[in-house]
């Protein structure tokens, strides 16, 4: 009877243990599943189903391993129900092979006392204590999965115009890279174009893809303008150095080195009028002009320098005619270069090409097919194309310019105005100048503060820690104190002493 009763109770306890363990494991598993959903962006349903199934399996194994024995169940019920260990005793005595009359009497007494016993009352079903935590974890994971999906912006297909612009930028970068010379400036430009293309591809799926394309192109344009301006100023400076080689044009060269292009042009005009036919000057100037023409390539200044060098070498000795004309042309070229430098249109030929390519991409020209409306998704390179009123050929319009019917879009950008097409400042932030300073002073002078720090000498340092010494000596000290007959009134003092020398934790 007792064994059957305990077997039923053990089954209940095992199921309860499984539920308790499952709840604990499920809390951890659900949290892990939430982490998995977040990291892998997988299906939350699969993760949660896996967590529930995995925790159930783990709980089942654990419950099977830790299921209570009959004796443990008996002891538990005895303790809870205050049965005076009748269940434990009856279970033990039932298993005995040979029993004395007192064993039998004990068994009979136990059974009689437990006849009306309701063990289920002491092993009621109850929800695991971790149930609220499980609900919180589950709710948290579901919220974490649902909220971002509910409030996330819709995913758009990649904008064809932005993608095409990015592709053209990449093509341009590849082309420039093939033509790349030793110029660091050009390499920087290529890298900037590649980065723009990469950013543009990343933003191609957003609603602001076209704005992003314009922003990138305007940024590149501004960068190229700055590079061209720097290149033109450098060319003028090189021309100044070349002119300074000849006595006749030295004044003009100095003016150019000072940045006074207008003054240099006047000096050159004056030199043309007062041209002194000196062989040495001609040769030196012709050589300098030839070198300059090679450095500047096919630019306007380069052509003028080349023409000047040819004129100096071809004219007969003592004749002024063609050399003077060449000087006048050079002066004119300097004036134009100065004007171009101010307007940002002059400079390196490659940079000019790139700037033109940027403008074409912004306006939808170039390799693209103008006339197609990008709103139909057919434009290959245009960014913002609108159809011109009156059925004419579509014209590109700068963003924010209205219907696109007024003038050539992007013209303002070409003039080098500071705000870009989006209305923001396109010129990169200037790099803050580095500050350097050096403190001046005299070494070896002034007052010196000296102090002597007293420490224990190496010979006097402890070889072992106080804690180790204390622990080693403690047993002997305790034994001595325990053996000693210490008067009652002094015990507290002795105890305080030993407490005072105890190492502090």
């Amino acid at each position: 009877m007792i064994r059957n009763l305990l077997t039923q109770l053990r089954r209940r306890r095992a199921i309860q243990l499984f539920l308790d363990t499952w709840a604990k494991a499920a809390v951890a598993a659900v949290l892990l599943a939430g982490l998995g959903v977040w990291l892998s962006s997988g299906s939350a349903a699969w993760w949660l189903a896996g967590a529930v199934a995995g925790s159930a399996a783990a709980a089942a194994l654990w419950s099977l391993y830790r299921r209570p024995t009959l004796a443990e169940v008996a002891a538990m019920i005895d303790r809870k129900a205050a049965t005076r260990d009748r269940l434990s005793t009856a279970l033990a005595f039932e298993a005995l092979g040979q029993r004395t009359p007192l064993h039998d009497a004990a068994l009979a007494e136990c059974e009689a006392a437990l006849r009306d016993f309701e063990p289920q009352r002491w092993t009621p079903w109850r929800l695991p204590r971790e149930t609220p935590w499980l609900a919180v974890a589950l709710g948290g994971v579901l919220l974490a999965v649902w909220l971002p999906r509910h409030f996330a912006p819709p995913v758009l297909p990649p904008d064809a115009a932005a993608v095409a612009t990015a592709e053209r930028l990449e093509q341009l970068a590849n082309t420039l890279e093939k033509e790349k010379t030793e110029e660091d400036q050009l390499a920087e430009v290529v890298e900037a174009i590649r980065q723009s293309a990469s950013r543009l591809r990343a933003e191609a799926t957003t609603v602001d893809a076209q704005k992003a394309a314009l922003r990138e192109l305007s940024g590149l344009e501004a960068m190229l303008e700055a590079a061209q301006q720097a290149s033109q100023e450098e060319a003028l400076a090189q021309l100044g150095e070349a002119l300074a080689e000849s006595e006749a044009t030295r004044e003009a060269g100095k003016a150019l080195e000072k940045g006074d292009a207008e003054g240099a042009a006047e000096k050159l005009d004056q030199a043309a009028r007062e041209w002194d036919e000196k062989k040495q000057q001609e040769e030196a100037l012709a050589k300098a002009m030839q070198q300059l023409a090679q450095q500047l390539g096919g630019s306007q200044l380069g052509s003028a320098a080349q023409e000047m060098a040819s004129a100096l070498r071809q004219q007969p000795q003592g004749q002024r005619g063609s050399a003077g004309e060449a000087l006048q042309k050079l002066a004119e070229a300097v004036r134009q270069a100065e004007a171009a430098s101010r307007s940002g249109q002059a400079g390196n030929e490659k940079l000019q090409k790139m700037a033109r390519a940027m403008q074409e991409m912004k306006t939808g020209q170039g390799q693209g097919q103008p006339g197609r409306n990008s709103a139909e998704g057919e434009g290959e390179a245009g960014v913002m194309m609108v159809e011109a009123p009156g059925g004419g050929a579509p014209k590109a319009a700068a963003p924010g310019s209205g219907d696109g019917s007024t003038g050539s879009p992007g013209s303002e950008l070409d003039q080098g105005t500071k705000p870009n097409a989006l209305g923001a400042t396109a010129v990169p932030d200037p790099v803050e100048p580095e500050l350097s300073a050096q403190l001046q002073g005299l070494l070896g002078e002034g007052e010196t503060l000296q102090s002597l720090i007293a420490t224990a000498s190496g010979e006097a340092a402890a070889k072992r820690g106080y804690q180790a010494i204390y622990e080693a000596a403690l047993p002997a000290a305790q034994e001595a104190v325990n053996q000693e007959k210490i008067p009652l009134g002094s015990r507290l003092l002795v105890k305080r002493y030993f407490e005072s020398i105890r190492p502090k934790p």
Binding site: T89, P101, L102, D104, A105, E109, N482
Partner: protein, 330 residues
Amino acid sequence: MMNQNQNQTEADAEAFRTLFLNLSSELEKRIVGQREIIEGVLVALLVGGHVLLEGVPGLGKTMLVRTLAEVADLEFSRIQFTPDLMPSDIVGTNLIAGEEGTRMFEFQPGPIFANLVLADEINRATPKTQSALLEAMQEHHVTVGGRQHPLSEPFLVLATQNPLEMEGTYPLPEAQLDRFLFKLKVAYPSADELHTILDRTTGGEHAPLKKVSGDAAGLLRWRAFVREVPMAREVQERAVQIVLATHPDRPEASEKAKRYVRYGASPRGAQALILAGKIYALLDGRFHVSRADLERAVLPALRHRVLLNFEGEAEGISTDEILCDIVSRV
């Protein structure tokens, strides 16, 4: 046949319970209150253990032992321990005796040859004399002149000691303390109990006592009966746990035991727990020992077997506190 044996067992258990209650009620005719002391002394008598009674003078310790001898119809002797008491004064000595020409040594038994021996103020005798009592308590015989002299059964020593006036005393050594089944602390009576004591002792004649147990042989049979009371191993495990928890160097020890105890209880402590638990089970109408029975015996059976260290004594910790802590935590 089985039912007959069972009925006989139940009748024996009922008779035992009646005997115990009768002894207790007879003792209560003379001893006011002190129910735990009376119960402890009777348990020791029926188990075959010795008792150390500790209390201030005048609380009825000697009266209790004398009354017990009278109602149990046992031979009683009292030894007042003093510093000059010699071992031979307790166990007896060989004297020359006989007619002329036939003189020979004749053993004159000492006061220890009795069923109930009251060793009054045992801590006032020298260790040498105390050790003479040690052999008698453990072996139930004395050795004089190379000859062993068995003591009469049942043999029970009830020793008293006064916690005050400790100057000039010889505290019992640990080995001797372990021989006592119980150490009972005799508390001061309450106001009502004191009134009753005054009424009884300052009035007319005492109420007559009735002999209860019959004879010494009957007591020995009851001792055998008590030892037959069965006990489940799971319940016995509780006694083992409690005893092991008193040892400061054991992992089972409680925090208080680790800090304040110098030596824990011996295996005799576990024996005392179980034997006393069997008596408590029978008194409760059961034929098996429960954990509660063991816990009921923890304080009297173990309080003198747990020795405090210096820190425990300096802190004023009692062994009862440590044992209660162990029972509640283990």
